[in-house]
Symmetry: none
Subunit: 254 residues, 2 copies
C-alpha cells in the first residue's frame, strides 16, 4: 500500500504541512518521489510516522525523536514503559493545573469576596476560628498554646497571594498523596515528595521547622480521627501512609 501526503496525513491525523516539514528536517522521508514530484510513502514510513507521533505526544522534541529512532538498538518494551511513566507524570501535572484553574474560577465566581481584602481577612479569621473549634483544645494540649497561636498569627499575616499558595499546596499534597498511596511504598519517590510538600505546607504557618515536630504531627494525623478522616479523603489508609512517609522523610525510621 502506498500513500500520498494527504492520505497519510488523514490516517495519522496530521496536516500535509507537517509531513512536508518532517521531510524537510529529514525525520521522515518518503519512500520515493513519483514522476510528478509527489511524495510517495510506503509501509515502512507509516510505521516510522507512528513512532514519531507517539514520541511527539510525549513532548519529545523532533530532534530527540530522530535520535531515539535512529539509535536502532532500543528495547521496545523498556522504552514503552518509560513513556508510560512520563505520561502518568504529565497527567498528574495536568490534574494539578485543572484543579488550580477550577479553584481560581470558583474564587472569581464567588464574587468580589476573594478580591475584597476586608472580606478576605474575614475569611481567614473564620478559618482560624473553625480550626480553633475543631482542633484547638487538643492541639493546645499536645503542642502547647504558643505554637497554635503562632500558627494562627501566621495565617492572619498572610497576604491573599500567600494564602492562595498555601491552599494550593494543600491541594497538591492531596493529589500527590493519592498517587503515592497507589505505589504502596512510603519510602518511594512519590511518597517522599508528598512528605516534602507537606513540610513546605507546614512552613507557611510554623515559625520554625523541626523534624521531630513534623514526625509528631504525622503521628497525630493517625491518632486523631478527624485528621485521619481528612487525609483519608485521598484514599482510605492514606493518613497512615502519609505518616509512614513522613517518618521516613524525617529520618525517624529508615
Amino acid at each position: 500500500m502506498e500513500y500520498t501526503v494527504q492520505k497519510l496525513g488523514q490516517m495519522a491525523g496530521i496536516s500535509t504541512r507537517t509531513l512536508r516539514y518532517y521531510d524537510e528536517i529529514g525525520i521522515l522521508k518518503p519512500a520515493r518521489i513519483n514522476s510528478s514530484g509527489y511524495r510517495i510513502y510506503s509501509q515502512e514510513e507509516v510505521e516510522r510516522l507512528q513512532q514519531i507521533l507517539f514520541y511527539r505526544e510525549l513532548g519529545v522534541s523532533l530532534d530527540d525523536i530522530r535520535d531515539i529512532l535512529n539509535a536502532s538498538s532500543f528495547d521496545g518494551l523498556k522504552a514503552l514503559n518509560e513513556h508510560r511513566e512520563k505520561l502518568l507524570n504529565k497527567r498528574r501535572q495536568l490534574d494539578l493545573l485543572i484543579i488550580n484553574v477550577e479553584r481560581t474560577i470558583a474564587e472569581k465566581e464567588g464574587g468580589i469576596n476573594m478580591t475584597d481584602s476586608e472580606k478576605f481577612a474575614g475569611f481567614k479569621r473564620k478559618m482560624i476560628d473553625d480550626n480553633e473549634k475543631k482542633y484547638g483544645k487538643e492541639i493546645r494540649e499536645k503542642y502547647g498554646a504558643e505554637k497554635v497561636n503562632q500558627s494562627n498569627q501566621a495565617l492572619e499575616g498572610m497576604t491573599q497571594q500567600q494564602y492562595a499558595e498555601w491552599e494550593r499546596l494543600g491541594v497538591e499534597i492531596m493529589v500527590t498523596l493519592k498517587e503515592a498511596f497507589a505505589t504502596n511504598n512510603p519510602g518511594g519517590e512519590l511518597a517522599q515528595k508528598t512528605a516534602d510538600l507537606h513540610r513546605q505546607w507546614l512552613s507557611f504557618t510554623w515559625d520554625r521547622y523541626s523534624k521531630e515536630a513534623h514526625a509528631g504531627l504525622a503521628q497525630m494525623y493517625v491518632d486523631d480521627e478527624r485528621f485521619t478522616a481528612y487525609y483519608d479523603q485521598a484514599q482510605p489508609g492514606a493518613a497512615e501512609f502519609l505518616r509512614d512517609a513522613i517518618l521516613i522523610y524525617t529520618g525517624q525510621i529508615q
Copy 2:
C-alpha cells in the same frame, strides 16, 4: 519601594528580557521612566506581576492573561473557563494515549499470540466475512461492488499496526461521540471533532475521500437500522447526531 528591571526580575525569578518583553506587549508597564530612560516599577506593578506569573503557571497565554487582568472579572471568568476546557481536552487526549501505551505494552508482553501474523490474518479475514454477511449486499447495491471490494482489500492489506490503529480510532469515535452527544450541538467543537475522527477512520479503507460520499454514508447510518444500532450504542439517537455532525462537517448543511 521602587525597582529597576534587574531588581524586580530577581525578586520574581524572571529575566530582565522577560520584563522588557512584558512592557513591549503592554502586559506590564513600569510605573514610570526615569530621566535616563530606565524602567522604574513600584508596588502596584509587583502585584500585577505576581498575578501574571500565577496565571502563567497555569499555562494561560500572555494574551489571555492580559484579558483576565484588564477586563472585568466576568470576562476573566470566561477566559479561565475556556482555558479549563482546553486542559480537559488535553487530559482526554492524554488518557487515550495512556490507554494505547498500556495496550501496546500488554500486547508486547502478551507474547507471540498477538504478533502471530497468521492468527492476525485469520482474524481479519473473519472480520471481512462478517462484514460481508452483515452488510454486504445492500452496501454493494448502494455503493457499488467496486468500492466494497476496495475496502475489503484495504483491510486485507493492513498491517497489524494499522489495524490496531484503525480499531483504536473506532473506539475513540465512540467515546468522543458519546461526549459530543451530551453537548446536543452537532456543530460544536466536540461533534466536529467526532466527524473528523470518522473521516480519519474512513480514510483507512477508502481509496479516495470525498465530502459527498462521507455525507452519504452518514445518512446511511441513520437509514439502515443495523448501523443505527451500532452507533446508538454510544447513546440512543447518537447515529442521527453523528449524521448531523458529519453533514455540517462536510458542509452539506451549515
